[in-house]
Symmetry: C2
Subunit: 193 residues, 2 copies
Amino acid sequence: MSPEPLTQARILEATEDVLRRYGPAKATVVDVARALGVSHGSVYRHFGSKAALREAVTGRWLDQSHAELSALADAEGPAEGRLRDWLAALFAAKRRKAGGDPELFATYMVLVGENSSTVERHIATMIEQLARIIEGGVEEGEFRPVEPTTAARAVWDASNRFHDPAYAAEWSQPEIETAFEAVCDLVVRGLHA
Amino acid sequence: MSPEPLTQARILEATEDVLRRYGPAKATVVDVARALGVSHGSVYRHFGSKAALREAVTGRWLDQSHAELSALADAEGPAEGRLRDWLAALFAAKRRKAGGDPELFATYMVLVGENSSTVERHIATMIEQLARIIEGGVEEGEFRPVEPTTAARAVWDASNRFHDPAYAAEWSQPEIETAFEAVCDLVVRGLHA
């Protein structure tokens, strides 16, 4: 029995624990309910299906660094600095996820493959943040007059070796820092007025 | 019995056929020898092991467009045009491979996963070609004074959505052309003096 009220946040926390313990193939809603000391009906009142629960936990994982990144996108100072800080913070967050708990990371890679619309929403949010930085740079005359969303998508694509989990195995290579700096330089200079 | 002499090229051709027919898990050297009408010993005289044969056929597939791309890297005219042509030709070649025979493409994806040193050699050749273009641009004063190999690696990384087979599923999306042009613009402008 659990004394705390059953919130979506607690269910998602428990779901991550269960996924870590049983793996994505075996984890069930009943396991999640048992971990919380509630009936599976109580879990279903918050998430209508196992698929909805898996989607929500995937979204939560993907969006972990949204707030930190959003603050960087809206920080003071020249757009170049904001863009560099944002890309570095994104890369750092991805490396923490991949390196900190490799098994959980592998689990989430399975979930990410199952929830393409959640992934698309995550990417759209990332590109919106980049577009805000670029738009500010264009307004200040620091960047050339590009269409912010198109340019943001190009920056996102150009930096994908440093945020797409498909490349996670390369993030611990010693030369990755140099490669990251070289791509950042290329991208920033490509935007400059 | 085969009237033609048994060359490496013929063996690799037959190996690709056998891989296409039986898939990478089942294809054997005996199948290749049978397709050629020779003993498996004759095949082993050219390729010392099944692994060596698989590696050679992977290298042949990866290097298919090397000559065409190398000619573009060494063409006349401004470096910007050469770089754009080279990136476009690489993307076109990759799309042909992925879209033309999707089953064979899937087969080669398995082989690519098995032969990381062959893949690394292929990438090193691609980066050398890019470095030649960039070095020419720097010499002519068209590009800013970058270290050609570092910049080439950055261009390679920045364009990977358009050549890394991990993204092959996206290459038939309608918006991919716009995305490709936007990344090319960013990269070219990022190099300009």
